[in-house]
Symmetry: C2
Subunit: 269 residues, 2 copies
């Protein structure tokens, strides 16, 4: 089954909200856990234990696991297996981007059955060109997995690169979106985009885009579910709104209530 | 001691050639090693055992370690310690790039004494803006470590993003180089650039650039040491030419001879 199909089913069953697993030091503090690999594991796997049967998609942020070296990456391996066992989808936020054999190395880490850090989808970065992502795209399609290519991020510093003018007098973000849209029919709509949800104007026309749009930053980072239709227009139906600290940043006791409140808001999308 | 100072000393002592540690499947084959984590460890650490007292800078490519999951990352941890113990510098090619707390997570993995994957320098990707790299820049300067920001890569697909027109009618690669140059006086020249060594024309003016330039692709990928002055002009003195398969791709028996031949060519730079 393709990633696009699994995503449609999961969000139809469980609601269209992705929960970011960002066990950063301040989140460990809020949970009353130690800032070490044991605290990391208790927090990250605790989120899936509490919400695994309610959430359609979990998005672990690799950086917070890598911060603890190989021991943290081992926790991430266990977490990804937990998510799969709970019947939820995993979308691993790693933002990898390289060329040739190195890109193939990253693909081997995450894509294809048996990959040690297998995830339903991963995020990738196009600074070396969407074309350079080819080894990952091929591996994702073959494995029924998904990719999300960074297009327009929510941070202000992103404009320098993302709003520069690419060929055809369009923004770099638009050129990335167009290249991805062109790939998709042959790629089972496996390749989505990452686009911030806090811009008044995106600088990218996504009205014809037909794969998934990962939109982080709902809640604590300033985005709201209600503002998404004004930003994404006709493409709103492809948006996967993602909240992290808003759900997980207040300790284990508030997880279910905070998730339920936010996922309810997405029902109107 | 700053990274820039350590780099100057190491290259003065040992010659100005960086050796890429890219233990990809085809390299393991050439070494007669198995395509598994044991083969990975024998190859990667074998390179440092054979060349650790001759090479100024080793550049391990993280993707080939991550391909084996947490077990591969544990090999990378041991390799980075080997390099340090051998008195060489480590430049870890990870091309990380994220924002805020996530970027801080990557910094915690690699920067600051005690970081589990400590390296003398790491590569980073500016798709989210050079400004978004701030947590890594601050951590690198505080720890006496270095960063190399991707500017202009050698692959043809890179042009879409890197040669797009940024503010001030310059290429994105130039805008990245200018932003890095501006940072550097206050940052102890800790922040260098990654620029391909196979372009006839770079599309970036680096004549006034005053920190290190990592130039991969010497040897097997088509770049030559002899062509560097024509590409880099006055900035050639900052170039750190990097060869990987040319040195390590022919088995353990040819390591020393192949390194010695190439490092000799860099003496004229």
């Amino acid at each position: 089954m393709t990633y696009a199909t699994r995503l449609t089913q999961a969000t139809a069953d469980r609601g269209r909200l992705c929960v970011g697993i960002d066990p950063m030091p301040s989140v460990l503090d809020a949970w009353g856990l130690s800032r070490d690999v044991a605290g990391l594991e208790a927090c990250a796997r605790g989120i899936v234990e509490a919400l695994g049967d309610r959430v359609a998609v979990f998005k672990p942020q690799s950086a917070f696991f890598e911060a603890y070296g190989s021991a943290g990456v081992a926790v991430l391996e266990r977490l990804l297996r937990d998510i799969r066992a709970a019947g939820a989808l995993s979308l691993l936020d790693v933002k990898r981007g390289d060329i040739g054999s190195s890109m193939a190395g990253y693909a081997a880490a995450h894509l294809g059955e048996g990959a040690p850090l297998w995830a339903d989808a991963i995020t990738v970065s196009p600074y070396l060109g969407v074309g350079a992502l080819r080894p990952a795209i091929d591996a994702a399609v073959a494995g029924g997995q998904g990719l999300y290519v960074l297009a327009r991020t929510s941070n202000p510093e992103g404009a320098t690169v993302q709003l520069a003018r690419a060929e055809g007098d369009r923004s770099v973000a638009q050129a990335v979106a167009d290249a991805v849209a062109e790939l998709n029919p042959a790629a089972d709509f496996a390749v989505g985009l990452v686009t911030g949800g806090t811009h008044e104007s995106l600088g990218v026309d996504l009205s014809g885009f037909n794969a998934s749009l990962l939109v982080p930053g709902i809640g604590a980072q300033g985005g709201t579910v209600e503002s998404l239709p004004a930003i994404f227009g006709a493409a709103t139906r492809h948006v996967l709104p993602t909240a992290s600290r808003e759900v997980i940043g207040h300790g284990a006791g508030e997880l279910v209530e905070r998730f339920e409140r936010l996922v309810l808001a997405t029902a109107a999308l």
